[in-house]
């Protein structure tokens, strides 16, 4: 039987891990991920879980240990945040290149300096090209569900690629909500035990984590790229299968909300989507033709979807909880590239950096400006929202 509990998104994620029955969890604590791995340690200590919890001396070691276990055919989990994720950076490409289907949670937090423990997505987006599938969630429930879905995705023989599930620090990680914990029996049906031939095995000796020189390196990378193409399809299929079994599905790579006849849309990833949803409802009541798009998967990127949006809306704003210095918000770059030559007018709102709140009035303001932009207002393409003092533009 499924049960309902009042959980923070960190705890909900831990339940997702528990239900996925990993063999090994290797993690090093860091704010705001700490309560997630503490909950996992509790599960092990109380005997509720039968995974091995490996205490390691750093995040680099955490992922190295997880990879070692994965290379033995174990289902493994790790989690980190911010500087911890950056410290793991070297191991990220080891794991993705070796095609170890590890699932990790990144509890998104700003990167130093200035030192800051609060939420933004600069940590994960700095790791965009690490070869991991990158999912962003809106709630604790979605975090729990996506951990289970992610194991199925990562371990699919055609995918065999690690998955990073991103949840916003504090806004989600430390915020409590009613969460449904699915039935273990049903999860076992959905997610069978991990089987792979990509492992060390006395019966079938092989070399793993090989060196590949210029002669074949490109070909190996092509197969990695192909796996992401398969993942695009699988993310949608797995999500709808999950929906049929558990009554919750999220739309696969993206979710559109009230966009049918919309003229002005906002696009974002992560927890801010919850607030956007509310603003869209409120503005719709007033007759405004607004809608929103939630990007759930950054890698693989839903390119075909954005290509199909060309010329559909009058204006589009992309909210970024990051900034790639010298250019713009990463999600904005991706979307613009896919929508090349569209008549839609764009603007990039950099907001929620270092834990600053993105509140309703701010989002309503974005929609208001999108309307003005559609009506010809000229404005800078990249704007920091909610600044204390007017800057430049």
């Amino acid at each position: 039987m499924s049960k309902k509990a009042f959980l923070s998104a960190n705890e909900a994620t831990a339940y997702g891990v528990l239900l996925s029955r990993p063999h090994v969890v290797a993690a090093y604590p860091i704010t705001p991920q700490t309560t997630l791995v503490e909950k996992l340690a509790d599960f092990e200590a109380s005997g509720e879980a039968d995974f091995k919890y490996m205490m390691v001396e750093s995040e680099h070691s955490a992922l190295a240990a997880a990879q070692g276990a994965s290379l033995m055919g174990a289902r493994t989990f790790t989690a980190s945040s911010s500087q911890g994720l950056l410290y793991m950076c070297e191991m990220l490409s080891y794991v993705s290149g070796a095609r170890n289907p590890i699932v990790m949670a990144d509890v998104n937090r700003s990167t130093s300096i200035p030192w800051n423990i609060y939420g933004d997505q600069r940590d994960a987006l700095a790791m965009r090209d690490s070869g991991w599938i990158m999912i962003f969630v809106e709630s604790g429930q979605e975090a729990l569900d996506m951990i289970i879905q992610s194991y199925k995705l990562a371990e699919d023989p055609e995918v065999m690629t690690p998955v990073m599930v991103n949840l916003d620090g504090f806004t989600l990680s430390h915020t409590y909500d009613l969460v449904e914990i699915p039935d273990q029996g049903l999860v076992d049906k959905f997610l069978p035990p991990f089987k792979t031939i990509n492992k060390f095995d006395m019966e079938n000796p092989q070399t793993l984590c090989q060196t590949v020189g210029p002669d074949f390196h490109t070909e190996v990378r092509v197969t990695q790229q192909a796996a992401f193409e398969v993942a695009k399809r699988k993310i949608v299929e797995i999500d709808s299968e999950y929906g049929k079994m558990f009554g919750r599905s999220y739309g696969g790579l993206v979710e559109e909300y009230r966009t049918e006849d919309a003229d002005y849309v906002l696009v974002a990833m992560g927890s801010v989507v919850g607030t956007m949803r509310m603003c869209v409802d409120m503005l719709r009541e007033k007759g405004e033709k607004v809608g929103m798009i939630k990007v759930r998967s950054l890698r693989p990127f839903p390119k075909e979807y954005f290509v199909s949006l060309r010329n559909r809306f009058k204006s589009m704003g992309v909210i970024s909880r990051d900034i790639s210095f010298g250019y713009e918000g990463t999600l904005f770059t991706e979307i613009k590239a896919a929508m090349l030559c569209s008549s839609t007018k764009y603007v990039n709102y950099i907001a929620g950096i270092g834990g600053r709140d993105i509140h309703k009035n701010m989002i309503n303001g974005f929609f208001e400006e999108l309307k003005e932009i559609a009506n010809g207002k000229e404005t800078a393409e990249v704007k920091f929202a909610g600044l204390r003092w007017e800057y430049g533009n």
């Binding site: 300096i113 200035p114 003092w389 800057y391």
Partner: protein, 97 residues
């Protein structure tokens, strides 16, 4: 109170010109953050046995014991009531401000 108080003279930057290079200035971080307190501990030390449990358990370290009597750092006390809950002699009352 031995505990250092936050610098009330400190004025946060008020313009781009006043923004310190890469945030390098003392004072940007520590700000009084007790704004959401609704109940404040009041000490009545007549039956106090100086067990110091209140001092140990306060998660904010805002009960000062440098003088004969306890002093509360009101800039940081969140009003959680843990001190009152832990006091074996019921010396601490949580009072609505």
């Amino acid at each position: 109170m031995l505990k250092p108080k936050w610098n009330k003279e400190y004025k946060p930057p008020a313009s781009w010109e006043e923004m310190p290079f890469t945030g390098n200035v003392a004072g940007l971080l520590p700000t009084p953050n007790s704004g959401f307190r609704t109940l404040t501990p009041h000490f009545n030390l007549e039956s106090c046995i100086k067990c110091m449990l209140c001092w140990v358990y306060c998660p904010e370290g805002c009960i000062d014991k440098s003088n004969e009597t306890f002093e509360l750092d009101r800039d940081y006390c969140k009003g959680c009531g843990i001190c009152a809950h832990e006091c074996p002699k019921k010396c601490i009352e949580m009072v609505r401000e």
